[in-house]
Amino acid sequence: MMKVAEKDVAYVAGLANLELTQEEQAGMVRDLNSILQYVDRLNELDTSNVEPMAQVSDRYGVDGSKPGTERFSYASREDIPEGLRKSLPREEALANAPDSDGVFFKVPKVIER
């Protein structure tokens, strides 16, 4: 069964800010269906009583009731108002910009009027 059709691919491409060509869209429908069909095997597992884990620290984190806490207790640090490193000078911050006026990053017109 097809899980995603061309219109789904177009919708997701919009969410991801990708403008896919017609050819890319067709390939993406094929590839995503093949991968999604493969990942379906996860449904063989009953995980209704299993906690999700987004990070290693979710399981071994700062919560003292969990094993290994001391090893993964990602230390908080003193607040440093000026920051751990200085802000970049403007010139350096703009150096990689595709377009700037020397003060601001420049982009195409945002609001049509």
Binding site: L18, E19, E24, L45, V50, Q55, Y74, R85, A95, N96
Partner: protein, 477 residues
């Protein structure tokens, strides 16, 4: 004296004793790169000015009779996903083709503080997404052992450069196997440390909960020296562990006799090439003769690791790669009329096919209506995978497996089948998902003379044990 086949200690000591200079050592490696890399394609950018400046600093230290630091004068390469101030850093992508970072990755800064001479930046799959290095936007890397074959990926350039004596050691990154698998394919040592052992500050993010920096080296001892150099708390990465760093080199000398090594049948099933299986069995036999006790363990959720990985990693990637918008840095498509069009076209033209595929899959898995079925489901299975290891490590000190189910495959062999390519990581993704350390050490060759890798997995923050086992095996082999 052949200046391009030295280990770290040998290189440092010839510079210290002034039998050669750090500058001559760097230049010998550049000459080797000039001669070999046209065919191999391991480097994307050479940082000669920076390298020679550092080499001269080390030579002055040696001339003054000062003791050189651990990597004093040692020529190294850095995978092009670690930012280097003033030296172009591309992540293997067209979207960053002209990016000159304004700061240094912590791991790179620590290597240089320890005297390393950074020769240049290593080719890789775009944003570290791939298992063959064919996804580089610039050019593929070829395996120095057989130029018709891939070096593995995504740290393909980092592995190939060490294998071809173009660098003494390199830094790679591993999100699903990207240090260990290319190390295996190229016949070098590759170490992925525990998640949080090495700061990720300045590592261009692919999947933040899975990304690790680690060394590729000619010997296990060299990998230990590099880990000792780059490990430890960094205030710039809140997930870097606040733990003391052991002397991994001193730990190598401890005996392996009496260590319990787990062997899991799930890593020896369908898809494992015969020659690889036999070489790994022989390596396990050797470890047994060295006095290790071999214990059968089970990691029953292993067959679910690849689907879990490709949901978690792509979801995180879709978020991390949202920053490439063509505004502050990165490629901008020409002739765009509106902001929205600029985002879409810049990203479509700037990203390669595999990166777009993963952004699409990750965005889909996170989108309304699918989040629970895909992303959350994968997070729950990730817990099952980590529990497998917790259970196994109550019985054994380390687990030995093949690094990859096959030796190096041919260029083009899997490049049109994303799923087949993903399965090249079947034995390596589990450690990334669980956050445990793993090392690949060469363990023989196929009849075509292609290297085979033995993988050793350890407990969280127990790199010392896997390095010790790998070292004992290497010395005995």
């Amino acid at each position: 004296m052949d200046l391009t086949s030295l280990t770290i200690d040998a290189a440092r000591s010839v510079v210290q004793q002034r039998r050669t200079s750090a500058r001559a050592l760097a230049e010998a490696h550049y000459a080797r790169i000039q001669k070999e890399d046209g065919q191999v394609g391991a480097f994307l950018t050479l940082s000669k000015e920076r390298a020679l400046k550092q080499a001269d600093r080390i030579d002055r230290m040696a001339a003054e009779g000062k003791p050189l630091p651990a990597l004093g004068g040692v020529p190294v390469g850095i995978k092009d996903v670690m930012v280097t101030r003033g030296v172009r850093t591309t992540a293997g992508s067209k979207i960053l083709a002209n990016y000159i970072p304004p700061y240094d990755c912590t791991a790179v800064a620590r290597m240089e503080a320890a005297g390393a001479v950074v020769l240049g930046k290593m080719n890789c799959d775009e944003f570290a997404m791939g298992s063959s290095n064919e996804n580089s936007a610039f050019h593929p890397v070829r395996n120095p052992r057989d130029l018709t074959r891939v070096p593995g990926g995504s740290s393909g350039g980092a592995a190939a450069a060490v294998a071809a004596d173009m660098a003494v050691v390199t830094l790679g990154s591993d999100t699903g196997g990207s240090i260990r698998q290319p190390a295996s394919f190229c016949g070098v040592v590759g170490l992925m440390p525990t998640y949080g052992r090495v700061s990720r500050n300045g590592l261009i993010a692919f999947a933040s909960s899975l990304d690790h920096i680690g060394p590729l080296a000619k010997t296990v001892k060299d990998a230990a020296i590099v880990l000792r150099t780059i490990a430890g708390r960094d205030p710039m990465d809140s997930t870097s562990a606040d733990l003391p760093v052991p002397d991994y080199v001193a730990e190598l000398a401890k005996p392996v006799r009496g260590l319990k090594l787990g062997v899991a049948k799930e890593y020896f099933g369908e898809g494992l090439d015969n020659a690889v299986g036999q070489a790994v069995e022989a390596a396990i036999d050797k470890l047994k003769r060295l006095g290790c006790e071999i214990v059968a363990v089970s990691l029953p959720h292993t067959p679910y690791a690849i689907p879990t990985y490709y949901l978690v990693a792509t979801a995180e990637a879709s978020s991390n790669l949202a920053r490439y918008d063509g505004v502050r840095y990165s490629y901008r498509a020409p002739g765009v009329k509106s902001l929205a069009e600029m985002y879409r076209r810049s990203r479509d033209e700037g990203f390669g096919a595999e990166v777009k595929r993963r952004i699409m899959l990750g965005t889909y898995a996170l989108s309304a209506g699918y989040y629970d079925a895909y992303y959350l489901k994968a997070q729950r299975v990730r817990t099952l995978l980590v529990r497998d290891f917790e259970e196994a490590f109550t019985k054994v000190d380390a687990i030995v497996t093949p690094t990859s189910p096959t030796a190096a495959f041919r260029l083009g062999e899997k490049s049109n089948d994303p799923l087949a390519m993903y399965l090249a990581d079947v034995y390596t993704v589990t450690a990334d998902l669980a956050g445990i350390p793993g090392i690949s050490v060469p363990c023989g060759e196929t009849k075509e003379k292609l290297p085979i890798g033995l993988q050793i997995l350890g407990r969280h923050f127990d790199e010392a044990t896997i390095l010790r086992v790998a070292h004992a095996y290497e010395q005995a082999a």
